[in-house]
């Protein structure tokens, strides 16, 4: 029994990371109305920036700060100077554009850092395990849960409690209305796109010490982010949270029951949710 409880706890740790990965995708979709296929590549970039900071001798805390900022800056530049010109085109071209971007980023990562994976060790402070009763839990995972929880609260506060959040939510309802009210919607688009990318970058940087880095983690992350938002409902903050934790728990628990099929079970869970709740657990009818 204990092992399952431990796996549920583990699952919450992974799940919070999945939430952080998926929430950016969800918010960007809510406002910009397209799914960013380069989101996985931003996750990849975050992880490799974290790795690079370690290589350059910067400590881990700096890399946690720098990786998301750099990814966000890059995304801002892409949105500001190129992506913007695709908005007027039919929907398919938005997706193709981001697929192309993801391909470019993945190949760029391979040419800079090589095709093989690397490991990153968490800082000394976060190494080791916590023992409480019968539980053994890695400190780093606790740290990840804490950081993602703070980020979740912060994002929630930004979306619900600030003027920017109000504009983003209003923009999700109708971008035309928002721009008619005299707000520069283009600036908001850039900002939200960069914010979404930065959260993916942070998720990548946080995930790097857990799973290592390899050039193909972006595609894997993209698949998982899609599962999370399909389960939780696209464009919904709490949907991403519930979906993320659910996927994390399913994956962890299944890895003790049937380790080979742990990844497979996530997708089966998705198919089951699709059958029962086609718009996701908390999704709005499209």
């Amino acid at each position: 029994m204990n092992i399952y409880l431990l796996q549920v706890a583990n699952g919450i740790g992974i799940g919070m990371l999945y939430f952080l990965l998926a929430v950016g995708l969800s918010i960007v979709f809510g406002l910009l109305r397209f799914v960013n296929f380069a989101h996985g590549a931003f996750f990849l970039l975050g992880a490799y920036f974290c790795f690079q900071c370690g290589e350059m001798g910067l400590n881990f805390w700096w890399s946690l700060l720098l990786a998301p900022l750099l990814v966000g800056l890059f995304a801002w530049l892409v949105e500001r100077f190129v992506l913007r010109h695709v908005y007027a085109l039919p929907h398919h071209f938005h997706i193709l554009f981001t697929v192309g971007l993801a391909l470019v980023l993945q190949e760029a990562v391979i040419s800079f850092w090589g095709p093989l994976g690397n490991n990153i060790s968490p800082p000394d402070l976060l190494q080791g395990v916590v023992m409480a009763g019968g539980f053994v839990y890695p400190i780093y995972r606790l740290f990840v849960i804490a950081v993602t929880a703070v980020m979740a609260l912060l994002l929630w506060w930004v979306l619900e409690g600030t003027r920017l959040g109000a504009i983003v939510r209003a923009g999700s309802e109708s971008t035309e209305m928002v721009s008619l009210l005299g707000l520069n919607i283009n600036r908001i688009f850039s900002l939200v796109f960069a914010l979404g990318a930065a959260t993916a970058g942070l998720a990548g940087a946080l995930a790097a010490p857990i799973r290592g880095v390899d050039p193909f983690m972006g595609v894997e992350a993209l698949g998982i982010a899609f599962v999370v938002v399909v389960i939780g409902g696209l464009g919904s903050f709490s949907g991403a949270l519930i979906g993320g934790i659910l996927v994390g728990i399913v994956q962890s628990v299944m890895s003790t029951v049937w380790s080979e099929g742990a990844h497979l079970m996530i997708y089966i869970a998705m198919a089951a949710v699709m059958l029962l709740r086609p718009n996701g657990l908390l999704g709005r009818a499209s």
Partner: protein
């Protein structure tokens, strides 16, 4: 001349099959072009004629490879039955995936096809007894095309196999051209251009989309089967996301809305890829930039470029068979 209008692209496709041996030195490279052209045709039927962007074509390609491989290895089935089985299983899996994914429209649909591509990758990875897991199915044989013990067409050498694939390719191209020129094909265009209106007129949208999906799954499964026979392995990579992505990219680069455009796209992808990968292993990066360029400037892909070039030389280019979309975007 009415018939010629319907046949001209098929003739063009046949011409490509005749020209490829003159342009390409290696039989297996030429075969690969045709195989991926088949896969791109299946993708084009969805994207160009039904408006469905599928990131899951690798599912059917991979399943086709495994089916043919298993039929040849375990059942010692002859050439044609094992390919037909690949088509059948490809169609059945497409029916299943389509039934789930088509319940959603637009963005959700696209995301679901990608999620299913990942799901089937893990299915193939998990079922090691059947698929060989990471190693794939090895030593897939390539029997000759024979009838009652008489060999009709040998497939031993690469160029012999090429001629078999070329016959299959032209046949499938002709059949697909018939499909898109039929009432069904025209109705699919109606679904692509305005789903709500097509539904209001009384068409069963789900059924139409599923039909397109099943045809596409069968064609892509066939391509996968041919690929397994060509390389002698049914590898795990055939069912990976990257295969799905490659098939979609070929289709988009070629141009949608005309079947021949997919032949251009696949030839470009395979031949240029083969050439560039020897010069620079990271050539996919250029492909990414090309995709960005296509989505920004060349919406009609290489086929559109070819049309423009023909027009410049004062020739009347063949019109898109499916250019109704223009006014829309």
């Amino acid at each position: 001349m009415k018939h010629f209008v319907h046949f001209r692209f098929t003739l063009l496709a046949a011409l490509v099959c005749l020209l490829l041996p003159l342009l390409v030195g290696s039989g297996s490279l030429a075969t690969e072009v045709l195989i991926f052209a088949l896969a791109a045709l299946g993708c084009n039927l969805l994207l160009g004629y039904t408006g469905l962007m599928s990131f899951g074509q690798g599912i059917f390609f991979g399943i086709g490879s495994y089916t043919t491989g298993l039929a040849l290895l375990r059942l010692q089935a002859p050439l044609l039955p094992s390919l037909l089985l690949a088509m059948l299983i490809g169609a059945v899996v497409a029916l299943l995936v389509g039934w789930f994914a088509i319940r959603q429209r637009g963005t959700y649909f696209v995301m679901l096809t990608l999620a299913f591509a990942q799901m089937f990758y893990f299915v193939a990875y998990t079922m090691k007894d059947l698929t060989g897991g990471d190693n794939g199915l090895l030593d897939v044989p390539r029997p000759n095309l024979s009838l009652f013990g008489h060999t009709l067409l040998a497939t031993t050498s690469p160029w012999q196999y090429y001629s078999f694939v070329a016959i299959v390719f032209v046949l499938v191209f002709w059949l697909l051209q018939r499909v898109v020129d039929s009432v069904l094909g025209r109705t699919l265009l109606a679904v692509r251009d305005n789903e709500t209106r097509a539904a209001a007129i009384g068409y069963d949208i789900t059924l139409l989309k599923l039909t397109a999906f099943v045809i596409s799954g069968a064609v892509t499964g066939l391509a996968g089967g041919l690929h397994a026979m060509m390389t002698g392995v049914a590898p795990l990579s055939n069912i990976e996301y990257h295969t799905s992505e490659a098939i979609l990219i070929m289709t988009v680069i070629g141009g949608t809305g005309n079947l021949f455009a997919s032949v251009l796209g696949a030839s470009f992808y395979v031949l240029i890829g083969n050439w560039l990968s020897t010069l620079w292993p990271r050539w996919l990066m250029l492909l990414g930039f090309l995709l960005i360029g296509v989505s920004l400037y060349l919406h009609k892909g290489l086929f559109g470029v070819a049309q423009a070039v023909l027009r410049k030389f004062g020739l009347r280019p063949p019109a898109d068979t499916a250019s109704v979309k223009e006014q829309h975007s």
